[in-house]
């Protein structure tokens, strides 16, 4: 008996080893649900509370399901009506006037009016976490029960995107009665109502039958807390999860042959860039130029980023640049020019230190070999995320790769990062007082035309400093089960999901 046990054990172990070796996994008998009414989504953050005005790093997917915003993103991330059925921008280009729908009710039956919008904005402002809100919303005013004006700080600010993504309307009545308790007993106007929070940080929601855009097809939703990436992709494959809200290249490799899974790509607002800082590079403009010419971006996209990126010649992603696209282009890959500048550089012997976080390892290697072709040695220093940012803020980084850009950023707000008092990049480069003054002016100017001129100046300046190599505009991906359809593609880029729109696949 014992001999057969060991035999069975050996066979089992061998079988498991073999199945582990094959990268191409065929899913087994995953039961097909008859008519799918339950949706399981994996979030990028654990749920802590459900009050969108508290600003805790919680599960925003739940928030967007329970609450609505004034406007929403369409499939291409353009702005379309939501709670606001129409709006106008005044002649100064600074004040929006929104007309609210009259048929929206909160989950407790009360009607949504301009008072609630005002209350939401007031509550946010009172919270120090939302101190940055002023960068998008300067002031607001109730005109009548269904009309409200919102003023933006300058003519370029992407207040609409900010409203779509960050401002979720809470009911004045329910919230003011018990602000602290609201966090665990949220009342919104959204497609889904809060049911419960699980100990592991997952959220359970059920459909709002009285939703103003129509009853959602998915009756119940479970939003799961984030899992380890390897485990997450497996859960998608076994059917335990229907939507993985972000997937990286490694995970994609695993599911590319899985017929039950499909992916959605979106070119969003973030860009991966290589930043050059530190004393040595600050004092050697030729070396910096050499590096700008010397990195083979297309190669990096193909090899290191699994092809998930597009070439860029601007300091920020295409969507962020907007009308400024191509205004101050950064030179592209040119090996000959790079070599020319290397020849003129001061010190080409001391190794350059490239600090990264673990997920950037392959990109770093690509850069390392590109620069090696120029005779420059690069040492890669891998740090944990917190350690990396601490080093950056302490001006101890020489080269670093960062992915920057969100759907609410615009060029004017970005230029601040390069001012000498910005702990983010500016204080680690040799910035001029002229630039700082320029940024000061930008911060003060409200008029769109004036602002444009100043921004172009700033862009030209920073490009000319050769402190940034735009590696690629990030292509964001999400993965879903083929049992459902109608996920808005922009969700991959903005992380704003409209779960009420999701239908079961035919």
């Amino acid at each position: 008996m014992k001999k057969s046990i060991s035999l069975v054990l050996t066979v089992l172990i061998t079988m498991m080893l073999i199945s582990g070796c094959t990268s191409n996994t065929e899913t087994g008998n995953v039961p097909e649900s008859p008519a799918k009414t339950n949706l399981v989504v994996m979030s990028a953050a654990k749920a802590i509370n459900y009050d969108p005005t508290v600003g805790a790093q919680t599960d925003t997917i739940a928030l967007h399901s329970i609450f609505d915003s004034l406007v929403k993103f369409d499939d291409n991330a353009d702005i379309i009506p939501y709670l606001a059925e129409s709006w106008e921008l005044d002649s100064s280009g600074l004040i929006y006037s929104f007309k609210l729908r009259k048929d929206v009710k909160f989950h407790d039956g009360t009607a949504l009016t301009a008072d609630d919008v005002v209350y939401t904005l007031d509550t946010m402002k009172a919270n120090p976490v939302y101190a940055m809100m002023a960068g998008w919303i300067k002031s607001w005013n109730k005109v009548d029960d269904y009309t409200i004006t919102i003023e933006r700080p300058n003519g370029l600010t992407n207040t609409m995107n900010y409203l779509a993504g960050q401002v979720m309307i809470i009911p004045k009545g329910a919230h003011s009665k018990d602000p602290a308790g609201f966090a665990m007993n949220p009342v919104g106007s959204g497609a889904y109502k809060f049911v419960s929070i699980e100990p592991d940080g997952s959220t359970k929601l059920e459909s709002n039958e009285a939703y103003f855009l129509g009853v959602p097809e998915m009756k119940t939703i479970t939003i799961k807390a984030p899992l380890d990436p390897s485990a997450a992709i497996l859960s998608l494959q076994t059917g335990e999860i229907d939507i993985l809200t972000t997937v990286n290249g490694t995970q994609l490799e695993q599911i590319k042959n899985d017929s039950k899974i499909t992916t959605i790509a979106f070119n969003g607002w973030s860009q991966n860039g290589l930043y050059l800082m530190g004393e040595r590079l600050n004092n050697d403009p030729n070396l910096r130029q050499a590096i700008v010419y010397g990195v083979n971006r297309q190669n990096l996209i193909d090899l290191a980023a699994f092809g998930l990126g597009t070439l860029s010649q601007d300091l920020f992603a295409k969507r962020v640049m907007g009308e400024f696209e191509g205004a101050a282009p950064v030179p592209g890959y040119n090996l000959d020019m790079a070599k020319e500048f290397v020849a003129k550089a001061n010190d080409v012997v001391t190794p350059l230190v490239l600090s990264i976080t673990p997920d950037q390892a392959i990109m770093a290697q690509s850069i390392q070999s590109d620069l090696a072709a120029l005779g420059l040695e690069v040492q890669i220093e891998q740090l944990e995320m917190n350690a990396f940012y601490e080093k950056l803020m302490n001006k101890e980084t020489e080269m670093g790769i960062m992915m920057l850009g969100t759907f609410q950023m615009t060029v004017d707000s970005f230029m601040f990062y390069y001012a000498s008092y910005s702990p983010f990049i500016g204080n680690a480069i040799n910035q001029t007082p002229e630039y700082d003054a320029l940024v000061g002016q930008i911060m003060m100017t409200a008029d769109g035309t004036e602002l444009r001129k100043l921004c172009i100046q700033a862009l030209e300046h920073v490009t000319g400093m050769n402190i940034q190599v735009p590696l690629f505009d990030t292509t964001m991906m999400l993965a879903q089960n083929k049992t459902i359809e109608n996920i808005s593609p922009q969700s991959a880029g903005t992380y704003v999901f409209y779960l009420g729109d999701i239908k079961a696949a035919k």
């Binding site: 014992k2 065929e26 087994g28 917190n386 940012y389 601490e390």
Partner: protein, 310 residues
């Protein structure tokens, strides 16, 4: 006997204080500012400072340490989580049962599998069974937990589709995680039991038992096992204590909301109150379990028992 227990219980306190101090220092020296993590990197310096003031971060470390220790011992107050503002101890109590279940089931499975196989292996020394078992044990004990769990999920969840890979909805969710934890543990137990049995097997009193006319079964069960298993029981106890803190990887991979998961997330986010409370909780538990194991040993080994009677 009671003096001994009292002494041991009291000795937990200084060790605990030292542990708290060490963890404090470690958390202090690791990079990451809790205020910045909560508010985001681009928060204004004023907002950051205000939060730091609120969290008490502007006081020197020693002062914070003393405040904290005083809070625990006088009010049993472990503070609130930086992120959720909920009392930390409640958080821990909610998530601890999952870890406890994992540890208990794993120890039980490991013992049921490992100990009898170890006995069989020793009694059939150098036979084919013994060799097969010893090799498997070596293999299982060397497998990294991360790899084993993914392998099990690939096989049972993906290929066969019979077991879930995440969550704690039903008892089925515990099967793969417990297997991941129990198998290497079982392998180790098997080897130790085998070694102990082999030692005992050579002893004279085994020969005496045979000379009395006892059959092999009786020799194994009535004479060998009791002697061989005493040290093994200590190891089982230590395994259990170790597992309470060692379920982290399994909890992460299988998405189980246990204590390990809680502490790891807290470390990443520098949610110091949770990390501290979690560590204190686990250390105390560990020390109590070791005390129990020692007492158990005294209980079952007559030689040690007499030492205590004095």
């Amino acid at each position: 006997m009671y003096k001994y227990i009292a002494r041991r219980l009291l000795s937990i306190i200084p060790i605990l204080l030292l542990t708290i101090f060490i963890v404090f220092v470690i958390l202090e020296s690791t990079p990451g500012d809790p205020a910045m993590i909560i508010l985001g990197r681009d928060a204004s310096p004023d907002a950051l400072n205000a939060l730091r003031e609120e969290l008490g971060f502007n006081k020197p470390m020693l002062l914070r340490y003393l405040d904290y220790v005083q809070g625990i011992f006088t009010r049993f107050d472990f503070g609130e989580s930086y992120r959720s503002k909920q009392p930390v101890f409640d958080n821990i109590l909610v998530q601890f049962p999952t870890t406890l279940k994992l540890a208990i089931f794993s120890v039980i499975v490991a013992s049921i599998v490992g100990i009898p196989l170890g006995i069989v292996s020793a009694v059939r020394q150098y036979s084919l069974t013994d060799v097969a078992l010893t090799v498997s044990a070596l293999f299982l004990a060397s497998i990294p937990g991360f790899w084993l769990s993914l392998l099990l999920v690939l096989f049972f969840s993906l290929l066969l589709g019979v077991l879930p890979s995440t969550g704690i909805d039903s008892w089925k969710n515990y099967i793969l995680p417990v297997a991941t934890l129990a198998l290497p543990s079982a392998a180790i137990l098997m080897r130790i039991t085998r070694a102990q049995m082999m030692e005992v097997w050579k002893q004279d009193y085994i020969r005496t038992a045979r000379a009395k006319g006892a059959n092999e079964w009786r020799v194994i069960t009535k004479h060998a096992i009791k002697n061989a298993l005493m040290p093994v029981i200590t190891i089982v106890g230590m395994s259990f204590a170790g597992l309470l803190g060692g379920t982290v990887i399994v909890e992460l991979i299988f998405g189980m909301p246990g204590l390990g998961n809680l502490i790891i997330s807290a470390i990443k986010l520098k949610d110091i109150p949770i990390v501290m409370a979690g560590t204190i909780f686990l250390s105390t538990l560990f020390m109590l379990i070791m005390l129990l194991v020692d007492l158990l040993y005294a209980f079952i080994d007559p030689r040690t028992k007499s030492q205590f009677k004095r």
